[in-house]
């Protein structure tokens, strides 16, 4: 297998990867120049043709989202960049922002040109102080160099980027929760419709894109649609609704591996390759018992599902919620799934925004049940109760406003379905594992 040449991460190890000068020396802002020479509709068309799907978790086609904006809208249109990276195990946006901020700024500028927006808000997770400072410096450099501001490069195009440090929570990464938070309110996701493209930030049409998505936009403009489509997984001919998974993707590998890392690979790499080749194998010579394919809200792959290709469609075929953020978290065979699942449930119970009844109460109920099982007071019926509770939460049954509760329910459904004998054994026989629960989550 030929070595893949990274594109998004190409510059991260360079000494001056964060400076405008260094970025320009590597051909930076060439794509933006090209975009400024094109009509906005043509830029959008290029992104539509590339088949770029949002990297933030849902995998919604990026170009298609841009076309949802009202045509010839007289007032302002906003771009909100989602840099509230908070799915456990995910750290690719952080690397992009800390090591190559101009790549992101160029992507933002191109996207703003395409959607005719003159104002972009960059919502950065509060914990990402270094990302904020790096980006702040980079944005200032761009203003000084005339790449941002009024009448950029004499093209008549204006663009301002405003950095906003979140003070929020996991839910601020939800599209409309982020918008509410940007408006200075409590980050309670909005009811849809209207979708943000029609009525978003400050009630104006708004596009919300993830950091990695916008970085891809830079390279699509620079290298062309064919280059982008040369990588990844083609649509399933048997599924007319599958748009395929093209392009490079940043995979974050963490958990019980020898070498936790973020690697860039074409879409569709298997979990096994990620662990064995890029992650240096499972630690301490052990075997993987379960693998989270894309952040804990996506569920679990069992040991015999490790050859599942990690593209947008792959995890769904083995009962996971989706690819999510492609954050692969490995659980070794010495770890109890009860602990793993308790950890997941504790996270979601802590992060549920509390707006919708099923999520607010369901997440904490599941946490309580698992805590009870964990401490040796579980009953076999509890497993069915957990499945029933998980089954009555989320936008798939239609009981919540946003997807958090789907994400909270999915690991429970997956874990109990795929590891039921272990749970039953735990309930009957008590604790057998040795790894404390705290070590499970990636520390990033």
């Amino acid at each position: 297998m030929p070595q893949f040449e990274p594109v998004l991460l190409a510059r991260i190890h360079k000494a001056d990867s964060t400076s405008l000068e260094g970025y320009r020396a590597d051909g930076g802002y060439r794509a933006y120049q090209k975009a400024l020479g094109m009509a906005p509709a043509d830029v959008t068309k290029m992104v539509v043709d590339s088949g770029l799907r949002g990297r933030g978790g849902a995998g919604f086609p990026c170009g298609l989202k841009w076309t949802f904006l009202p045509k010839d809208h007289p007032g302002p249109i906003y771009l909100a960049v989602n840099a509230d990276e908070s799915e456990p195990g995910t750290f690719n946006n952080r690397i992009l922002m800390e090591q190559d901020p101009h790549q992101l700024i160029e992507g933002i500028a191109i996207a703003c040109h395409a959607i005719k927006s003159e104002k972009a808000f960059l919502y950065i997770r509060y914990e990402y102080g270094r990302s904020y400072r790096t980006l702040f410096k980079a944005v200032q450099e761009c203003y000084a160099a005339g790449l941002l501001g009024k009448n950029i490069q004499g093209s008549g195009v204006n663009l301002d980027i405003q950095l906003h440090r979140g003070a929020g929570a996991y839910i601020c990464g939800e599209e409309t929760g982020l918008i509410e938070s940007l408006e200075g309110k409590r980050a309670w996701p909005r009811i849809k419709p209207p979708f943000p493209a029609i009525e978003g930030l400050f009630r104006k049409p708004t596009i919300v894109n993830n950091v990695e998505t916008l970085c891809c936009v830079t390279h699509i403009l620079d290298r062309g649609v064919d280059w982008f489509k040369s990588m990844g997984v083609k649509p399933d001919p048997n599924n007319p609704r599958d748009p395929g998974s093209y392009g490079p993707k940043l995979y974050c590998i963490s958990g019980h591996v020898n070498r936790p890392c973020c690697v860039e690979l074409p879409m569709g790499v298997t979990a096994r390759e990620l662990i064995d080749v890029h992650g240096g194998g499972v630690w301490k010579g052990r075997k993987a018992k379960a693998v989270v394919p894309g952040g804990i809200s996506m569920g679990f792959l069992s040991a015999d599902e490790l050859d599942t290709p990690l593209d947008f469609a792959g995890p769904g075929k083995v009962g996971c919620l989706g690819l999510g953020t492609a954050a692969v978290v490995v659980v070794d065979d010495q770890t109890s799934m009860v602990d793993v699942l308790f950890n997941c449930c504790r996270f979601f119970a802590h992060e549920s925004c509390g707006q919708c009844t099923p999520c607010r109460e369901g997440t904490s109920w599941m946490r309580k049940i698992l805590d009870r099982i964990r401490s040796g007071h579980g009953k076999l019926e509890d497993l069915d109760l957990l499945l029933e509770v998980a089954g009555s939460m989320g936008i798939i049954p239609g009981t919540t406003i946003c997807g958090l509760s789907d994400g909270a329910a999915w690991p429970v459904k997956n874990a109990i379905k795929k590891f039921r004998p272990e749970f039953e054994d735990y309930i009957r026989e008590g604790r057998r594992s040795i790894t404390p629960a705290q070590e499970l989550m990636a520390t990033h």
Partner: protein
């Protein structure tokens, strides 16, 4: 006409009408349970109680249902919309939601004020499951009695519907309430030192579908199933909010707003809500009095009224121009009509005046911004004119006397010795006559005072008629916009006091019993300005005196 289907029942929609599933279902008598939805507040669709299945009828007649459940409060109903609110899927979702809501609810119904009128009880009974599967301890959250002067919060009973939060943001505009914390640790709270003391604060108690927000005034006073409600009108300002007067064993315990789109909408202000305590005041006049040479000898209604009637009739014969009466804007239309008609019948020259109309400041409109400045559109108004029936009494006076004589004129004329007999009707429990004004009536030979509380003029009266409050009588009040509403007797007057209508009915020599409906018909025939009362029964929402005002009023309510 566009038609939708709810549980197979056709619902007719007016063209251009925007209804959600909950409203459309209610139109054909189907209840879709909901907690967070309230027609006067914005839709948040967060309680997830109103989940229904919704589909669309395609042009070829087939129905395509959405694959997932949707909240009925958020989903508009259009031509061809199919709503299914009784399928197994919907029932299962309701059961699940109710189980979730009760997980951390303390189930302290035996000590909860809301029990008996609690939506959590009602829906659990109708739609819930009979047991909980929770085995772990419940969340315990602190009670917050600092939340307002009149309201207290039992935090653990709260189901986070956020109606109260939205009320303070959207209707009062004062935005004191908010949600703090996250997930199951969420609580309703205030900013430290900023309690909910705005003039509409009491409404959050009514809006609360469970027993979380309670009125301190009503707390632990009564179980609600002992209370009996009478439909009435709040007399404290000329907005004339429709209310229910809740009483048990002749004691009023609370006033609650009764939704009336023609009057005030679904809310009322705290001035009205808590401004009825005078009903139980120890100072209430409890018996009639006639001053005799020996002192206050006669206290018997029959004797007092007979003597009074005789005195008035004699004065009317002897000096017909020396009779005057002051009709209070707190009287009902019927009472004003009886008194004015009787006196004018005895003496065509009798002077009739309008009692003092108390005005306090300016109309107070809501919502307000954080600086207290009113903002448009106005959603609630507390009027400066603090009386219930200015308009009604004015209509009666105009019929009998043409121009309406102001109270001040009678005062100065009485001081000049123009009158031998003056019939003063008070009725404003918050004071209607000053010491100064009372002195003006010293020269009057026969002073009759009909009132419910002592006033400055009482000691000068030859006859004192102990009257009743708004809660003790039947009649009609006409608000600022010309909306005539019925008030109904809720409790008996204290002691030997009598409702004013009964006093006047007997005094004026009418036979039989006072019946407001019958008298209303008579008034409608007599007074052209009040012809709208001709049906006798004004219905729950009342009748507008004329249609131009009707349209103006409904426009205000809709805005």
């Amino acid at each position: 006409m566009p038609t939708a289907l709810v549980n197979q029942k056709p619902v007719e929609l007016q063209p251009g009408e925007r209804l959600n599933c909950v409203q459309a279902a209610a139109r054909v008598g189907i209840e879709i349970p909901a907690y967070c939805y309230h027609p006067s507040l914005s839709v948040v669709a967060s309680c997830r109680m109103c989940l229904v299945e919704v589909g669309e009828t395609k042009p070829d007649g087939t129905v395509v249902m959405l694959p997932k459940l949707v909240p009925g409060c958020q989903t508009p109903v259009k031509e061809g919309t199919v709503v299914v609110a009784d399928s197994e899927k919907v029932k299962a979702a309701r059961q699940a939601t109710l189980e979730y809501l009760l997980l951390n609810h303390p189930l302290d119904c035996p000590t909860c004020d809301q029990a008996g009128e609690c939506f959590l009880q009602d829906y659990s009974y109708k739609y819930g499951r009979s047991y909980s599967r929770l085995q772990e301890p419940k969340q315990i959250k602190p009670d917050k009695d600092y939340i307002g002067e009149q309201i207290t919060l039992f935090t653990d009973r709260c189901i986070m519907c956020t109606r109260c939060v939205r009320f303070t943001r959207e209707i009062s505009g004062s935005a004191e309430l908010q949600v703090i914390n996250r997930g199951t640790h969420e609580e309703i709270d205030i900013f430290p030192g900023e309690p909910v003391n705005n003039k509409l604060a009491g409404n959050v108690v009514d809006l609360c579908p469970v027993g979380a927000l309670c009125s301190k005034d009503f707390l632990y006073k009564q179980r609600v199933w002992w209370l009996q409600s009478a439909k009435s009108v709040c007399p404290n300002c000329s907005t004339g909010c429709s209310v229910n007067v809740d009483q048990n064993e002749d004691k009023v315990y609370r006033l609650k707003p009764r939704e009336n789109p023609q009057a005030q909408g679904p809310f009322m202000c705290d001035e009205g809500r808590f401004g009825w305590k005078y009903l139980q005041a120890a100072e209430r006049l409890t018996f009639p009095t006639q001053k005799t040479a020996e002192g206050e000898g006669v206290r018997d209604w029959t004797a007092v009224l007979n003597s009074l009637r005789q005195t008035v009739e004699e004065t009317a014969k002897k000096s017909p121009q020396k009779i005057a009466a002051v009709l209070s804007p707190w009287m009902t239309v019927e009472e004003a009509y009886l008194l004015a008609g009787w006196l004018k019948g005895l003496s065509a020259q009798a002077a009739l005046a309008l009692g003092p109309v108390r005005v306090a400041g300016e109309d107070d409109t809501y919502p307000k911004d954080i600086h207290g400045k009113p903002i448009q559109p106005v959603k609630f108004t507390i009027r400066a004119e603090k009386c219930p029936n200015h308009r009604g009494v004015r209509e009666v006076l105009e019929h009998f006397t043409g121009a309406v004589k102001p109270f001040a004129e009678v005062v100065s004329e009485a001081a000049a010795g123009k009158y031998d007999l003056v019939y003063l009707v008070g009725g404003d429990p918050f004071g209607w006559i000053t010491e100064e004004q009372a002195k003006a009536f010293q020269k009057v030979k026969t002073l009759i005072v009909q009132d419910l509380l002592p006033s400055a003029v009482l000691s000068q009266a030859s006859f004192v008629l102990a009257g009743g409050s708004f809660a003790e009588r039947d009649g009609t009040y006409i608000n600022h916009a010309g909306l005539a509403q019925e008030i109904h007797k809720s409790v008996r007057s204290p002691g030997n006091a009598r409702p004013d209508n009964r006093i006047l009915w007997e005094l004026t020599g009418r036979v039989g019993l006072f019946h407001a409906g019958n008298l209303r018909k008579e008034i409608a025939e007599t007074i052209s300005g009040l012809a709208a009362l001709q049906a006798g029964n004004l219905g729950e929402n009342g009748v507008l005196l004329d249609s131009t005002e009707h349209s103006a009023q409904t426009a205000v309510v809709q805005a």
